[in-house]
């Protein structure tokens, strides 16, 4: 019994040392990953040797639960360690390698991640799997983009800067005059354009807000000098720093985006089965996939880009998160707080 006990203690000690080595290795690898950037780090942490490492880590945690009676006796420690196992298991199951394995062994054909480009008024079921958009796979349902819109914080701002570096931030209010200070005159926004266009009529330049597709936000600004001279300037959001060489002021126009919204309908067998306004932080969840507002047509606002992620393994990871959080809060806080309260109630 003594020899058995001694060898068990030796084994436990070995497990603890291995755990420390595994933690230290992950720390070093994470620092390395932080230096190489997210894209390369993702590729690095999904390689076969790292998959072996993740597997070993999960097994080590499981073995620790078996050989350390304290990890079973103390509920907080058990849930923390079990939570870590679930996070690793869910992560591996949902990873690229996990998806490949599921396809080969279980014949589960599910897209892990990709993106969809959907034009307004059209339906799309192809998910683009590579950056160039050459490889794609079809979903068993389609998404229809009813409308895409961008919302901006109000008011937008006109920035006015003198050549010697003095700067003003002026809220854009059409018709309102803004005094620039003594000797500098005033500035006034005369007109705001969503889609600025210039054309010639009877030999004269005519500036108009084109109602057709396109986006070229601009301001018409009048600068009145103290001597009474008035100059009109056009300031373009997409072309900052556009000014004339002799101008006393540099003007720029800035609108802060408050939201991107894609009005999406899910179409299955010719019928609309779900609808949602997809926004950043508010993805659409349907058919085992999440769809996220990712990008858009910044030239004309005609299409939206949604990123697509499979939910494989996700709920195992979430279960692990719950266990890890509850275990940590219970073990480090609540059980001590309850101990403190007990004598008082007694």
């Amino acid at each position: 019994m003594g020899i058995m006990g001694n060898s068990m203690n030796e084994f436990r000690r070995a497990i603890l040392w291995t755990a420390l080595a595994v933690i230290a290795l992950l720390t070093v690898l994470s620092i390395y990953g932080a230096f190489i950037g997210a894209e390369r780090a993702q590729e690095f942490f999904n390689r076969i040797p790292l998959a072996v490492y993740w597997m070993f880590f999960a097994m080590l945690l499981a073995v620790a639960i078996v050989v350390f009676p304290r990890l079973v006796r103390v509920p907080g420690l058990l849930t923390v360690h079990a939570g870590c196992i679930l996070i690793l298991a869910g992560g591996m199951w949902g990873s690229k390698l996990g998806n490949d394995l599921q396809r080969r062994l279980l014949r589960i054909e599910k897209i892990r991640d990709g993106r969809m480009v959907i034009y307004e008024g059209t339906s799309e079921n192809r998910v683009l799997l590579d950056d160039a958009g050459r490889v794609s796979k079809a979903l068993p349902f389609s998404l229809r983009l009813k409308d895409f819109r961008i919302e901006y914080y109000q008011p937008a701002n006109l920035y006015i800067e003198t050549r010697d570096g003095r700067r003003w931030k002026v809220p854009v209010e059409v018709g309102k005059q803004f005094a620039l200070g003594e000797g500098l005159g005033t500035a006034k926004v005369v007109r705001a354009f969503e889609n600025f266009k210039m054309s010639k009529q009877d030999g004269k330049n005519v500036f108009l807000d084109d109602p057709n597709a396109g986006s070229n936000p601009a301001l018409e600004v009048q600068i009145a000098q103290p001597n009474g001279q008035v100059a009109t300037r056009y300031v373009f959001e997409k072309f900052p720093g556009h000014s004339q060489g002799q101008d006393a002021f540099l003007l720029s126009y800035h609108r802060a985006i408050s939201d991107f919204i894609s009005e999406i309908e899910v179409v299955e067998n010719g019928k609309v089965v779900a609808a949602k306004d997809v926004e950043v932080n508010y993805p659409l969840h349907f058919g085992g996939y999440h769809f996220y507002q990712s990008s858009y047509d910044d030239k004309a606002g005609q299409f939206t880009v949604l990123s697509v992620y499979s939910d494989t393994g996700l709920y195992i990871v979430y279960a692990g998160y719950w266990l890890l959080c509850l275990g940590a809060v219970w073990h480090f806080w609540l059980r001590h707080a309850l101990k403190r309260l007990r004598p008082k109630s007694a």
């Binding site: 000690r13 603890l16 755990a19 420390l20 933690i23 230290a24 992950l26 720390t27 994470s30 620092i31 990953g33 932080a34 230096f35 950037g37 997210a38 894209e39 780090a41 993702q42 942490f45 992560g91 991640d113 914080y153 802060a256 985006i257 408050s258 939201d259 991107f260 926004e279 950043v280 932080n281 508010y282 993805p283 999440h290 996220y292 507002q293 990712s294 990123s307 992620y309 996700l314 990871v317 979430y318 998160y321 890890l324 959080c325 940590a328 809060v329 480090f332 806080w333």
Partner: protein
Amino acid sequence: MEIKFTLQGLLVYLTMAAYLAAFVATSLRRARLGHILFLAGFAISVIAYGYRWNHVRHVPLQNLFEVFLSLGMLCYPISLFSRRVLRIGGQWADMVIGTIVLFPAGFVFNAEPQQLPPALQSWLFAPHVAVYMFSYVFMGKAFFQACEHLLTSPRTDSPFLPPEQATYEMICVGFPLLTLGLILGSYWGKQAWGDYWGWDPKELWSLVSWLVYVAYFHVRYMFGRRHARLNSQLAILGMAAIIITLLWVNLSRLFPGLHSYAS
């Protein structure tokens, strides 16, 4: 470095002055006066925070100016909690921490209000950042206790826990918050960007911070107080990882990533 000639700047400087005065008074064994000045500094920092909140019209935790402003405000309540509930001393260190964390808010970071970009318009924004702020202050206190353990000789007449034990207690309080911050961030990443783990430099550094404290618990369990200095050294290493997570990732061009808006 710039001096802020604004009401916001003035409130930050007043808080720093009160914290510094509290530290001087405490060092001169005027504990009561020190406490009153510390409390006054806290009151001013609450006004500064409330003023900022009203100014930007959202929870002021968006950029590094606001983050450091909030850290400066948290020092007093966490100090009081640690002293009263956990019997952990080092109030002088809390006054120093308060002054240190307000310095970048007062002199380094731009205080120009910014509107929240779409990614930050989530119910997870405030809790994710706030739990990290709380945990960082607890870990900052743990760091000072660990330094005290390594640099000073043990005292027997103190009514407070010895520094090594105090370091452990502080980490025990801060660690669940660090865990919660990591998990809330991961859940938010899933809601906003599509994946619960994006291998972004800030994510990886926050994982590094978490792992150092995980190693701390395992080392302390393995060796108890036989290698007490090693425990304290790990607590210091943990704080170094937190500083990198908080600052370097947002400031350095070495680590561009999804969290760059927080600079």
